[in-house]
Symmetry: C2
Subunit: 363 residues, 2 copies
């Protein structure tokens, strides 16, 4: 089986085996060691000295935590959107009463640092900027380093959704000045879903002190108080944490740069293979993501049928998301993945493509 969706991603055997460990007391010494080791390795992969908190939640829970821990109702926020997940961040902020100005780029196009600069110039009241590093819905990686530089020039609080990039792509929390960075266990981290992880800078803590959005489960002040004694405020997903630590140890053995390079090689293989089959990616190649490829469905091909035929051969792909349903399909290539895996996916794609959709012969 090749599970090639952009998360959950396959888990290495050592990660799955880690979950056969029996429950332990989440208020005891053994748990404290696991939590502290996991947090320490996450800080290394986040490239940060900031606190890193582990929440029992999906990535979306991490997004919500980022919002309610830094803002008050009425706070002006700039939400830079390039797809489904950028819109989700904007929606969450609005839901809690932030005054959201959206800077929307067409799906498949990257965020333009100059446009962000102009938007910030135009409205000096803006307090925080929200953006997505790697837009899973469009298979696009935004030029995060440049975007961060602009936001920092304007001295704004910066919240970045790194859910499908962190651990797989270059991501430098401290160097780039990211105040809140969010990711989730089931993406490049090779662990099962169930944990959201967020780093929180000193500047984010200043914002927290003034932020009045209601928060209890997501309150990172509680998380901080408990982390200091090696605990979480509420019962954590112990088994998923066993898995996460095992995965981080594997990642540490491979090394951060090697993992980034491997994702580059795998993505290159996918992109070359896709082109060889006469297919095109949604985003411009320069911004195509190294963790997920959004491929345009060629005329006459039925996306659902294509996914079904691939699945019959044991290759599970994702369909298009939101507005892209039917017009794209997506290949996830993040976490536990090699160039050989990519080649299997491409071979199967080559073999089933002629059978997906009646109009194929005519195209």
């Amino acid at each position: 089986m090749q599970l090639r969706i952009p998360g959950p991603t396959p888990c290495p055997p050592r990660v799955l085996e880690a979950m056969t460990r029996q429950m332990i007391n989440h208020r005891g010494k053994d748990f404290a060691e696991i939590l502290q080791s996991t947090t320490g390795l996450l800080q290394r992969f986040f490239n940060t000295k900031n606190d890193v908190y582990i929440l029992t939640a999906s990535g979306t829970g991490g997004m919500e935590a980022a919002v309610v821990n830094t803002l008050s109702p009425g706070d002006p926020v700039l939400a830079v959107t390039t797809g489904y997940f950028g819109e989700r961040l904007a929606t969450i902020a609005s839901t809690y009463g932030a005054q959201v100005t959206r800077l929307d780029f067409p799906w498949g196009q990257p965020a333009d640092p100059h446009a962000v600069s102009k938007a910030l110039q135009k409205d000096p009241s803006i307090k925080a900027v929200f953006m997505v590093h790697n837009e899973t819905s469009t298979g696009l990686t935004n030029p995060l380093a440049q975007l961060c530089q602009v936001v920092k020039e304007f001295d704004k609080l910066l919240v970045v959704d790194g859910i499908s990039s962190m651990g797989s792509l270059e991501f430098k929390v401290d160097e780039w000045g990211i105040d809140v960075a969010i990711t989730a266990s089931q993406k490049g981290w090779m662990a099962p879903p169930g944990l959201a992880m967020a780093s929180f800078s000193p500047r984010a803590w200043e914002a927290h002190a003034r932020a009045t959005m209601p928060r209890f489960y997501w309150d990172l002040a509680l998380a901080k108080r408990f982390l200091d004694k090696g605990q979480t405020p509420f019962t954590p997903a112990v088994s998923t944490l066993y898995a996460m630590l095992a995965a981080l140890e594997l990642m540490d053995e491979e090394g951060q740069q090697s993992i980034i390079d491997r994702h580059q090689r795998v993505a290159d293989a996918v992109r070359q293979g896709v082109k060889r089959l006469g297919l095109s990616l949604l985003p411009p190649e320069e911004f195509a993501s190294n963790t997920v490829s959004a491929v345009l469905v060629p005329q006459g091909v039925d996306a659902k049928q294509l996914q079904g035929l691939m699945a019959q051969q044991g290759v599970i792909l994702s369909g298009g998301q939101g507005a892209l349903e039917g017009s794209t399909f997506r290949i996830g290539h993040l976490g536990w993945v090699t160039v050989e895996d990519a080649q299997i996916v491409l071979s199967v794609l080559e073999s089933v493509l002629p059978r997906a959709g009646s109009a194929r012969e005519a195209s």
Copy 2:
């Protein structure tokens, strides 16, 4: 090892093994079958025809979901508290702006249906009543059937925290008229932590339609829309769900009444054993919980030292919670537990008790 804290509870081998299964597509057919089977079994154990939703969160996340899905800021709520978790529910409701009237009973004493009746008579504006079935912090089971009857006489929305009772004690959602019932995977359900479960009645849906507290991650309307197609709105904790289904299948084999009876037998053994050692429970025996026993620390005994000595013999107990720290210790006996387990715990307790605290000999 005897992990005898009131959650996480030990998982049977079949439950742990279930988590060695590889990830699957959470938007695919196999996942839909798992989610639907799990939901169906939960409905059976909740004794309800209401919708049951599974959230990736701790039990506290389920509490927060109960609040934000039914209330608007300013809504008058009666929070009946008998300990730490009753207070938590009240705190969450206040955090989101509900106007909370607290009806506090002394820790270790049950909620009195007559007092609840009086409180509801006194303030007809009250919209919802929040209560805890089994107060984990005090080892007490409230007389839920009678309490529910009172609340229903006054025709109020009824939210019950059944986190440490459901699946282990009698709990009849439909018969007792419980609009929102909340529980969590790591308690009587014999699965790892990471999932909160909530049933939601038609009346709760009516409240939802009017409720304006901000909600996104917890929004059960999203959960409902996705459950109808066998999905969750956000990536679910797939492995924990594998475990939960395996545990529910084991529970189904044993049978609901047999499980309830087993918890009664185990709790009786614990209570008799505790008394035989000259110790006393915090709550009156009539209301002592069948899932967790809160034992008063006798004079001259140091609670921390006692727990440490027990742990050296492989028996992990919990300390007192909140205001009860130091003055009680707790024995969890829910989920995967037998009378034999209880006897091991009691034997070890008997052997270490004389060594816990210098003043023991003098007492």
